[in-house]
Amino acid sequence: MKLIKAIVRPNKVDDVKDALGRVSLPGMTVTEVRGHGKQKGHTAIYRGKEYDVSLLPKMEIEVVVPDHLVDEAVAAIITAARTGEIGDGRVFVIPVEQSYRIRTGERSEM
């Protein structure tokens, strides 16, 4: 069981969601985040005063997947979120030790 954490362009969230749907993953969590990698920010100017806007808005998508679906899910995310330009984002795969369903209290293996 792995947690896939993908940081993508905000306008790619729907594409990624559809792609993960085709891998038949039922759940996901999406968060608005700000950050930067290699992509440089913009400069904003208010009445002549310059500000660097170096942290750009991104979306973070989290999905927990069974081990045998990890490669397929990562490939789906990368294909859906890629534009080829700097700033496309990152995908991290993190091991998950345990998982529980709150409604029933049962320990689940996805």
Binding site: A44, Y46, R47, G48, K49, Y51
Partner: protein, 417 residues
């Protein structure tokens, strides 16, 4: 009495009130950081109430009853004798009540403009005390000198130095702008300025505010004709053209020097043009109005983008850079372009420099000097007095948390996610 004149002036009074709330409140409210939004809007709104009551008690009388050349007397105190009968000296075709309420709206917006320089760091209590004193000791003398019968600078009612100021370039914009500069210097910089970024929290609010100001300004300038005739039409047209030209001038300056024309630049330019045309609006033809707008747009752009940086004062929302500078530019250019074809204020004699009245430039300079002098001296003294009485600046920890919470116990935005 003329019903059309009365109807027009009453509508204009409402338009000028709309300039303060919500116009100026939104314009300034959007320019501050989120944590100070309510505090700055509250200052405008509180002044709508505070100056109104002061006006009824003594303000109107000190501005418009006969007294000395510097300040009026107490004849109209508590609005005694101010009724539906017209006053021959002030709009002879409308009730004096209409004139009184129309002028009140100017007395409200003038101190409200100053809050742009004290933004994000002046206490609410200090603001209330200072503005009360300022309205009586600085605004009332200036309004009396320029517009009151027998005032030192009055152009038509027996002034020693006939200064042309149709709708308040000197009375409203120079006094508020210069006082704003003094306030910015006295209060000192906001904590973190200029190292910490302090970008406007919502230019959308500012945008709406500026558009309301533009519309309200028709009441400010065209209403100053105090009648619904040709002079009102002329002032309306001049006002609009100057605002448009100044918008283009600011945007062009920005596009050339900073590569990108900004929304904040567009609305700042419009306000600069509206400020500069204010004293001239009832004296100039449409083409000179466009010229005045172009000069004001470029001039104020220079003030807020360069001059402020050279001197390093923290005029947070550029009250001096736009109202002080724009008002001074407008007062001078009024002396250049005023024409008897629009307003035969001196009967058959020429009015402005271009039609041969060179001495008018001198009188305009006297008016500018008196307004600057009163604003500088008066504001320094009154700030000192206010500081001793109740204090003027919030503590640093209050500034960090924001004035909305620490001065008013509220937050502007409690949005659910």
């Amino acid at each position: 009495m003329n019903a059309a004149d009365n109807a027009w002036t009453l509508v204009c009074a409402a338009l000028v009130l709309m300039m303060t709330g919500p116009g100026l409140a939104l314009f300034y409210g959007g320019l501050v950081r989120q944590k100070n939004t309510l505090a700055i809007m509250m200052q405008s709104f509180a002044l709508m109430a505070l100056i109104t009551v002061l006006w009824a008690l003594v303000g109107y009388s000190l501005c418009f009853s006969e007294g000395t050349p510097i300040i009026g007397g107490f004849r109209y105190a508590l609005l005694r004798g101010v009724g539906v009968e017209p006053n021959a000296d002030y709009g002879g075709t409308i009730p004096q009540l209409t004139f009184m309420i129309y002028q009140l709206m100017f007395a409200i917006i003038t101190p409200a403009l100053i809050t742009g320089a004290t933004a994000e760091r002046m206490t609410f209590g200090g603001t209330v005390v200072f503005m009360t004193l300022w309205s009586i000791c600085v605004y009332a003398p200036l309004a009396h000198m320029v517009w009151g019968k027998g005032g030192l600078l009055n152009a038509t009612l027996g002034g020693r130095f006939p200064t042309l100021d149709f709708a308040g370039g000197t009375v409203v914009h120079i006094t508020s702008g210069v006082s704003a500069l003094v306030c910015a210097l006295y209060l000192g910089k906001r904590t973190g300025f200029p190292k910490e970024p302090m970008p406007p929290h919502s230019l959308v609010l500012s945008f709406i505010g500026a558009c309301l100001l533009w519309v309200g300004w028709f009441g400010f300038n065209a209403g100053s004709a105090l009648s619904a005739g040709g002079l009102a039409a002329s002032a309306f047209v001049a006002t609009h053209f100057a605002a448009a030209a100044a918008t283009l001038a600011w945007l062009a300056a920005e596009w050339i020097t900073r590569r990108r024309p900004s929304a904040l630049g567009a609305i700042s330019g419009a306000v600069a043009g509206l400020v500069a045309i204010t004293p001239a609006s009832g004296f100039v033809a449409p083409m000179p109005a466009i010229l005045i707008g172009l000069v004001a747009g470029a001039g104020c752009f220079l003030m807020v983008t360069s001059v402020k940086g050279w001197f390093g004062y923290d005029d947070a929302l550029d009250a001096f850079g736009i109202h002080g500078a724009g008002g001074t530019i407008g007062a001078l250019l009024t002396g250049v372009f005023a024409t008897r074809a629009i307003n035969p204020v001196f009967r058959d004699a020429p009015v402005g420099l271009l039609e041969g009245n060179a001495s008018q430039i001198g009188y305009q300079l006297v008016g500018i000097a008196v307004a600057w002098g009163f604003a500088l001296a008066g504001t320094i003294i009154l700030l000192k007095v206010t500081d001793l009485l109740v204090g003027v600046r919030v503590r640093e920890d209050q500034e960090t948390v924001g004035l909305d919470l620490t001065e008013h116990g509220e937050e502007a935005y409690n949005l659910e996610m």
